[in-house]
Amino acid sequence: MLDINKIRADFPILSQKVNGKPLVYFDNGATSQKPQVVIDAISKYYQEINANIHRGVHTLSQLATDAYESSRGKIQQHINAEFAHEVLFTSGTTFGINLVANGFASILKPGDEVLVSAMEHHSNIVPWQMLCEKTGATLKVIPMNDNGELIMAEYDKLLSDKTKVVTVNHISNALGTVNPIKYMIDKAHEFGAAVLIDGAQAVPHLIPDVQALDCDFYVFSGHKICGPTGVGILYGKEAWLNKLPPYQGGGEMIKDVTFEKTTYAELPHKFEAGTPNIAGGIVLGTAVDYMNSVGFENIQEQELELLEYGTKRLLEIEGLKIYGTAATKTSVISFNIEGIHPYDIGTIIDKLGIAVRTGHHCAQPIMNYFKIPGTIRASFSFYNTKEEIDVMVEAIKRAKTMLS
């Protein structure tokens, strides 16, 4: 059991007032708040060891390089990658997906197929559409049912020798559905297709074991796991990373440069052109340490309790409908109230100190499926409490009265 008061004390922002009311932060799906250790680590980096990495012979450069590479090692361990050089620092999930999609431009041919799920974030749709436009490959969609679950029987039918890439999120940002990715990866591999897992919404709730999953790529962002914005991870199997061409040219990613020919650096540097987000990379390690010190079992226990309690309390509100009722889901509740636009509710409860997300959640195909303009999404983190859920429910009731 978590000592929730002790945990909350780690996050200075949580004791803040917003619009004169105590902040209730339920927009964790968009970004998590940061504990003091993470905030301090950013400042400590700039105060003590700021230098460019992988080049200088001087002491600060060595210290910064060591810290950066040690963070890479921490993340390798955390996700159980076989090699540290399979763990690439990126600016975030979106960059990671674009890097991979762009790399496949040199592999795909007209007639090849890319399978994407019906519940993807736009950032896991658009790069693949661009890839298909470039290569003449076809984008096919794995459909979902009314509960917001992918239909595996349809997935099985879509797979064929033409399938070259399957790309799916581990957990849906708009619905909270946990997808059966192990099954999907194994199935795709029977046809020789590569699988990319968008783990952006999963890593705050669980530890992905990339070797056990056997995924070819796994991408996520640091800012959703208590880390800073602007840093993320692309895990790729060594064989795939060697096969894909570099994404960006520049310093760091080369072995030798002449005007006639450039040879590329070894992994991971081949994909890390230019000066990276050094502080971000180092502090991502701090954030992962923090999450592990809280403990993912504890995190899951607390979040499951919040999900169950939140679902129960919200359903007490007349006319409220929850979207995303999959058998396995995380602490995300997407909902609407009959006859009321989600934007109106979001705007009013913001005045009561409550931060939720409203809109299409960058997943318009899901909204089109349910024929709604958007939803209100409350996404809970381990530092949230049942009392906060009570405050939200009361605020929604008040907004509902005002609006109807």
């Binding site: 619009n19 009321i340 636009h341 989600p342 934007y343 109106d344 979001g346 705007t347 009013i348 005045k351 409203t358 809109g359 303009p373 958007g374 005002m402 609006l403």
Partner: protein, 139 residues
Amino acid sequence: MKIKDIQEEIVDEFSMFDDWMERYEYIIELGKKLPLIEEEYKTEDNLIKGCQSKVWLQGEQNEDKIVFTADSDAILTKGIIAILIRTFSNQSATDILEADMNFIDEIGLKEHLSPTRANGLVSMIKNIKMYALAFNAKN
């Protein structure tokens, strides 16, 4: 009435409210009272795409004035556009183009003026002024 006088009138009305809740309740009331736009004008062309709620705006020439009608699927947005319509409908294009928007700040809706705000107030104002520009160019 001149735009400036209408704006002053609106500022006066809003000054009676002590807190955000009363202000929002009034905006909701204005939204509910907004005369509905003719269904035929709820077209893709008339749609102002804010990030979160839809707004349809239609402008028509009535002698030397422009008459605006509008609708939105969100009631707060509808209330805000009702305020804009009250201010700008039945005014001349030149007056619309010259009008300043400080009154939005004065009625406590400044936060809605941020260009990143998802209700598209900035786009609404822009579209109203575009109608006026087009009107002047045509005449």
